[in-house]
Symmetry: C2
Amino acid sequence: MSETADHGARAYHHGDLRKALLEAARGIVEQEGLDAFTLRECARRAGVSHGAPAHHFTDRTGLLTALAVQALEERVAAAEARMAAAGPDPLDRLKACGLAHIEFNIRHPRLDDLCSHNGVTDHSDPAMQAVFQKMTAALVDAMSAATGQPMKPEKEANPETLLALVVVTGFAKVFNDGMILRDVPERERFGRALALASDLLDLLDSAFRGRGVSAD
Amino acid sequence: MSETADHGARAYHHGDLRKALLEAARGIVEQEGLDAFTLRECARRAGVSHGAPAHHFTDRTGLLTALAVQALEERVAAAEARMAAAGPDPLDRLKACGLAHIEFNIRHPRLDDLCSHNGVTDHSDPAMQAVFQKMTAALVDAMSAATGQPMKPEKEANPETLLALVVVTGFAKVFNDGMILRDVPERERFGRALALASDLLDLLDSAFRGRGVSAD
DNA sequence: AGTATGATCTAGACATCGACTAGATCGAGA
DNA sequence: TCTCGATCTAGTCGATGTCTAGATCATACT
């Protein structure tokens, strides 16, 4: 048990500083926003010195990358759970998958920022690549089942698949950037957004159902 | 001519430092990325001291906000030109508008970052609000013409309009984040993306044309 | 014409940041 | 028990954004 990469709960001076730092980082990012995140404030919240994080994450990028991976894993898990609960119909499952991603992204807009903002995280990180691969694989599977024909990853660029990807990605961005529902009171905003997203996916469903989903 | 807000070309010590700073800032953001932008480097490129920018922009946010406004004005102007050249058919004009926004956003991904990234720019800035209002007004007009029924701004939340907004916004994000066409050589990436975007809009066009665009 | 005024810019200071280094502290295996 | 490595602290460095005082210069006023 001498590996540096052992992320299990170890009890040294602090207890499990890695976990504590990740929780502190998540708190900062979700409450104050990505720009407010600093390594020193993170260490402050965890009650350690400003140099301590360097022993668990190589640098600022490393810590934020780990946080992004954690968030993406939650998102993927939520999507998988929703798909499992959606029943057997492939289009229902696809819609459940899309709605799950949208819901996570509008419920945690700052984490969505973190994951999509280029430069603050390391996309070449193995854990990052792993969760990305898992996510795209799930999407490709859902799309294959919905269209009824197997779809290879490199065939990702066909318009129908792209439309699904674009709508899910775009809706969260449009909402989180305040381009829609800006004047709706905070209490109702989330629910209204979810209902709107559902309508949007239903619209696509009705537009393409029975049309032969593969147009080209 | 004693107004502080006079942004015209004045020739003091530098000549027109405001313009020079904006050009330097744009160079940094477009070449090195938003994270690489610093006021001091900006001043360095303009050949002035590090404190000089404060006299033309209140602070870092102010300078970046001005740059974002400049970019958005270019984008809106490009969209208007494309619409004017698209001919009379409302759906053609709407597609031209959407493609213009997409093209600008994938041609200047860093500027797209700047404009959409929350926190670095001041959305309450008057110039920012003005260009945003102009942009949404143009979109609402285009949608009203395409659907054949007048659409009030607060009615923005109907699924069809939302779909157009979401697709345009989402496509640029999906492409700029490298979720599609990642392995395509740089030389072909831009052209392929534009073609894909055109296909996507055509797909929506064919799905909704003659269907009674207003579903609800 | 000569001066006063205000806009423009420089130079220095300060707090804070990320990263690096040396040294103290502590836990686990020999 | 003792050693060794992992963990953490404290100090330092260069860089950044912002603030302030002072110098410089174009324009307006008399």
